[in-house]
């Protein structure tokens, strides 16, 4: 049900772009104005959200320790999972952000009772997530050629590596296939596994469908319904100089592609997609496990009512005296 809502929402968006361009001919709106607006919303919204998080302090020092603390010098501490230095935290965050360390932790390969090795199920989620995010990054890298003049060599290098299969199948990038497979998996697991279905909201499906839509249209304009790539770059570069030229003769597929991408950009700051920036601020991961060595300050700390020793002694004076314990006031 939740998946259907999201599917219709994305389908509706596609229809809007299709009729906007094919029926009404509002090419400039879809090629220029909406992307401009989406980019603005993305950047401003993202900064707004991060600043909003940043305005709330981290009152307590709460890293989740996943390894041995640094205590006695002869006990080997886990410098990354229970970081004792800034470098450790950087390494921990890098592993988390680049390799999805925590998802990978899921379960160990184990020898089961029937003496066969099982590869525990949830590594698949790690793999799916990792493939999706890395593919997305590389695809963004590839797209940067449309926004840069000249294009730096390492961007071309990344693209060449990604396109290594093109010797056999033209116009196909490894990441295109990978991201489609990963997104399909991420969607299917939400539908197939009852417990993931239970926790999935329409917004979870919406993000997946939106991404799928962008990718599918992207692959299509590169294979089946080719567009004049030079015209697209002229348009993109034109946007930097605030003098965009909408190329003639590009089919609606291209407009749907950039419209969905624009929606995705604009949706980003208001959704769970903020997990990207969010991970950097996660206090269970980005703090050093040194809270007994360095005092953490809570900026809104306030005095609280306590039961002082004097009050305590007053209340129990006779009892204390009775067993011969020392008193402050006899």
């Amino acid at each position: 049900m939740n998946a259907l809502y999201a599917f219709f929402a994305v389908a509706l968006l596609m229809l809007v772009a299709f009729f906007g361009v094919w029926g009404l001919g509002w090419n400039t709106l879809f090629a220029v104005m909406i992307p401009y607006a989406a980019l603005a919303i993305f950047i401003i919204g993202l900064i707004y959200r991060v600043v909003k998080w940043a305005r709330a302090p981290v009152p307590f020092h709460i890293p989740t320790t996943c390894g041995q603390q640094k205590s006695l010098p002869w006990i080997k501490s886990d410098r990354i999972e229970s970081p004792s230095s800034t470098m450790g935290v950087v390494a921990r965050m890098a592993m988390e952000i680049l390799l999805f360390r925590s998802l990978f932790r899921n379960d160990k390969v184990q020898l089961e009772d029937k003496k066969r090795v099982t590869f525990q199920g949830n590594r698949v989620l790690w793999l799916g997530g990792l493939v999706f995010h890395w593919s997305l990054l590389i695809i963004l890298f590839r797209h940067s050629r449309l926004f840069m003049q000249p294009v730096p060599d390492f961007m071309i290098f990344v693209r060449d590596i990604d396109g290594i299969l093109q010797g056999l199948i033209p116009a196909v990038f490894i990441t295109d296939i990978a991201i489609l497979m990963a997104l399909t998996y991420l969607f299917l697991r939400r539908v197939v596994f009852p417990q993931v279905r239970y926790i999935s909201l329409p917004s979870d499906y919406f993000a997946l469908f939106l991404l799928l839509g962008v990718v599918i249209l992207g692959v299509l304009v590169k294979t089946a319904w080719k567009v004049d790539i030079e015209g697209v770059k002229v348009l993109a570069m034109g946007m930097f100089t605030f003098n965009p030229v909408v190329p003639e003769g590009i089919g609606p597929a291209f407009y749907i592609h950039i419209f969905l991408a624009s929606v995705l950009l604009a949706y980003f700051p208001f959704s769970k997609l903020m997990h990207g920036p969010g991970i950097f601020l996660s206090p269970t991961r980005n703090l050093i496990n040194n809270s007994r060595a360095v005092r953490h300050i809570n900026p809104w700390d306030y005095p609280v009512k306590v039961h002082t020793y004097e009050e305590w002694e007053d209340e129990f004076r006779e009892a204390i005296r009775g067993v011969g314990l020392p008193l402050e006031k006899e």
Binding site: E112, Q120, F193, Q195, E318
Partner: protein
């Protein structure tokens, strides 16, 4: 083919069916996890059930060694008696075997002889169910006993505290303040 043979030959299919039927008695959303995850430590419930029903099945087919049956039933029922089930549902998993057999052997139960065999086998299952009820009751008694023990130790501790307190004079009134003689163990 006689039914006894059929039941032992289709063991894997019937056990699989039985296991899925038992899993269905869990909230829909959990059964996916309980049924799928194979690690005995990550999923002790699913693991225990799948292991023990196989033992039960083998015993049903052979000599119904009541000690082995009791041990296996105990492993399953011990879990189900602390989960949110009324007694009927906690032991209902035994009867699900009947359903599994009838569904898996549908075609094999064609003639009268096979049907008679089936009824005989089901009688064994009924015995198992009675045993299961016994064990369920024992498990519940155990829980009550553990609870009682805990209350008892707490009371003992409280009395000890009271005793010490009484030996002293001028101690604050036990009624008005927390901490006197009515403690809970953290």
């Amino acid at each position: 083919m006689d039914l006894g043979q059929a039941i032992s030959q289709k063991k894997a299919a019937i056990l699989g069916k039985w296991f899925r039927l038992i899993m269905d008695t869990y909230p829909l959303d959990a059964s996916g996890f309980l049924g799928r995850e194979k690690d005995r430590f990550a999923n002790p419930v699913g693991y225990t059930i799948s292991r023990e029903i196989e033992v039960l099945y083998d015993e049903l087919l052979q000599d119904m060694d009541s000690e082995k049956l009791a041990a296996s039933l105990d492993s399953i029922i011990r879990i189900r008696s602390v989960q949110d089930y009324p007694p009927s549902e906690a032991v209902s998993f035994v009867f699900l075997l009947k359903k599994a057999i009838r569904e898996e052997l549908g075609d094999d139960i064609s003639d009268n002889q096979a049907y008679a065999d089936l009824l005989a086998f089901e009688a064994r299952i009924d015995k198992l169910a009675l045993l299961a009820l016994d064990i369920y009751t024992k498990c519940r008694e155990k829980i009550h006993q553990i609870r009682l023990n805990e209350v008892k130790t707490e009371t003992e501790r409280a009395f000890r505290l009271l005793e010490i307190t009484r030996r002293m004079h001028d101690v604050p009134d036990a009624e008005e303040h927390p901490g006197d003689g009515e403690n809970l163990s953290p």
